[in-house]
């Protein structure tokens, strides 16, 4: 009895360590910008709005986590968000289906995109990032066709998910579902098993391909939710072409790397949520500093590079391509 309590204590400390680390990041990133520009940054109200803004990417990132843990990648995240948002908007607006049309339309589109990504990846046996690069071209084009080349605007009566408490409710539901899938279903166990060693997992009777496709579908559905939040927050969506949707890939991907890094503390999902929050604090910090928008891209690119560098550990002699 005493022993069990001891291990419980030990486990708590691993998790607590993770939380403390994240809290430290929040405080440090807040502190730095608060010192540089104390007037227009970092009040409690500011922080709440940064957190609201970070929910968008956090929802996408917890879904994308399933794909990343298995060691695969997805270049079509941005195109998926764009396409799902436009389909959701068209359902809600043009077809007059209201909120159900928006939410269901976007999530189903996202899941279908995931299904297509996963199926082609598994069937064609091509590296996932290459398949999704090709597919991103196609999704962008399809989104453009559906939008008819014009900006899709969500009517003001349908923007409840763009502000408190709508956005928070939707995000919390999404986080809860991800948490449940990861910790309380076979899917979660098998996701980690495949990510750890595909051959052993296969020998254990896990149908690896099925779960890989499933991971893409889950990821796609969460990106669909992110699409709902994105278009509600920004009120409209333009269907860009020429791989310009790639710029939407970065922020969810960054959060995912936080999740991967904190996996060992047994708390990937909270890490993703707080990680995205930290990223947003830094972004808004730079905005408060008056950095031009173009420079924000520089920061985004650099930030991802640094996050990946700090969070990935490569064994000596391992081959990285």
């Amino acid at each position: 009895m005493k022993k069990t309590r001891e291990t419980a204590g030990k486990k708590l400390s691993a998790r607590t360590k993770g939380y403390l680390l994240l809290l430290l990041m929040v405080i440090v990133s807040w502190g730095i910008f608060k010192i540089i520009t104390p007037d227009n940054f970092g009040s409690a109200k500011n922080m709440l709005s940064y957190f609201e803004a970070s929910l968008l990417a956090a929802v996408g990132a917890v879904g994308f986590y399933f794909v990343m843990v298995m060691g695969m990648f997805d270049f079509s995240i941005g195109a998926n968000i764009m396409l799902s948002a436009i389909v959701g908007c068209v359902f809600a607006n043009r077809f007059g289906l209201g909120y159900p049309g928006l939410v269901v339309g976007a999530i189903i589109t996202g899941a279908l995109v995931g299904l297509l990504n996963g199926t082609l990846y598994v069937k064609l046996r091509i590296p996932s990032m290459i398949v999704t690069t090709g597919l991103a071209l196609i999704y962008e084009s399809v989104a453009n066709y559906i939008a008819g080349g014009v900006e899709q605007t969500l009517p003001s009566g349908l923007r409840a998910f763009g502000q408190m408490p709508g956005n928070l409710i939707l995000a919390v539901i999404a986080f809860a579902v991800a948490f449940l899938l990861l910790n309380y279903t076979k899917i979660g166990t098998y996701t980690y098993a495949i990510g750890s060693n595909e051959f052993v997992a296969k020998n254990m009777g896990i149908s690896v391909n099925k779960y890989k496709v499933l991971a893409f579908i889950i990821s796609g559905a969460f990106l669909g939710v992110m699409a709902v939040l994105t278009i509600s927050y920004g009120s409209s969506m333009v269907a860009v072409t020429g791989m310009a949707s790639m710029s939407r890939n970065f922020v969810p991907t960054m959060g995912c790397f936080f999740g991967l890094a904190f996996k060992k503390y047994g708390m990937p999902i909270p890490a993703i949520i707080i990680g995205e929050f930290v990223i947003n604090i830094i972004f808004f910090g730079f905005i408060a500093l008056g950095a031009p928008t173009a420079i924000q891209d520089v920061i985004t690119g650099f930030a991802l590079l640094i996050i990946v560098m700090l969070t990935t550990k490569v064994a000596k002699g391992e081959i990285v391509k």
Binding site: K186, K202, N203, G205, I206, K316
Partner: protein
Amino acid sequence: MSEIRLQVKNVSKSFGITKALQDVSFDIAKGEIHALIGENGSGKSTLTNSLTGIYQKDSGQFILDGVEVNPRNQVEANNEGISIIVQELGTLDGLTVAENIFLGHENKFVKCGIKNTGAMNRKATELLKEYGFERIKASDMIEHYNFEDRKLVEIVKATYFNPKIVVIDETTTALSGEGREELYKQMKRIREAGNTVIFISHDLPEVLRLSDTITVLRDGVYIDTVKSSDVDEDGLKKLMVGREVSGEYYRADYGERVSDEVVMRVKNVTVPGLISNVSFDLHRGEILGFGGLSESGMHEIGKACFGASFDREGTVELQDGTQINDIPTAIAHSIAYTSKDRDNESLVMNQSIRDNICLPSLKTLANKLHLLRDGKLKKFAQQFAATMSTKMESVDQFASNLSGGNKQKVVLARWIGKDSDILLLDSPTRGIDVKVKQDIYQLMDKMRKEGKSIVMISEELMELIGMCDRIIIMKDGEINGEIMRDKDMDENTLIAKMV
């Protein structure tokens, strides 16, 4: 005679052009520990992997208690009552101990799609307690435990459901004394329950001590099944190798004096976690053997001398004072290395034989303008592939299409082409059939006579005894003894220093 549990009937399995198993048939009885022995590459693991669904056999049958079984993966095998503890790690990172134990069998704990983690952990804790492994906690992540404890978890995973057959594939070599005793205890428990253990081991005394029956395989072919009480070690060895161990197979000379000239001086070499404070001299024309258990660190010796180890401390110095700290320097100073992991570290698999042989010699093959001609490369490759009598269609063929023995010949051809003077051979005959082995032994003998020096690292004690002027035994990353070439040396002398 006890009842038959498993009939192996005409089982065959090929990997590409390598015939790993050819028409193997024999019976295994209920309530016995049945050992499966043979040299490396004889097909033991292929047979058990086919039985447990890790590989799919090409033809033949496995008949368990009168019913044919044909599992496609380990979980299906488990459902038939067959389980396996594999040689390497069989547990998965990122999962808890409990999740690992029940991987593939979660359905017992799933209700309406929701997994009852609590119930799973309780059941796992119960099992661990039953086995006496209380210090392992069911809800902990598996990566918090070391190799040995993870093996214990595998023992639980493979035996908790009382399977009819448990395969234990060379697990003992990786375990220390305590873990080994635990495994022996479990094996005996399984036998007492009337079930069967198929036990694969290289350690012949261990095999004789533990098993009731022994089946010998050689080059994928069934040789014989004998009662443990009817044979001794020499008898088993004869069955395994297939001839009297003498004559032309290994080198025949004894008592030849090795030159005093030191060609390579290794001083206080340490590679964190693998070897510590290793020092030795390699003489001209000497074959220096390294033996030990596979985890003893001996395989790192070759890499360390080749400049391929990470974070190596200490020095490797050649006769002319050159320090070897990286691979290109090593090769430039006539050092060659063949890895135990031939397919990843020695050969560029999806590359032509030509390029594989020419790779380290490109500098000398180029003309004054640093240009290479295809014809010249081809001729060079053909010449040395022929020296090694490599069986192939042409040098343009990919290395991946060759059998294990011919792959090794390509690797050796590369270094003969480079005319290396110091050869670091790690497990040079691993997974290679007897005929090619003999070719390699003869080549080594010839090189020795030409004044080249060889470091031979091997898990096969017989070939160390047969080939080496001197054998250094490694234990736990350190040198644990040195034995000179002697006609009367036997394996027990070496084993005593190994464990």
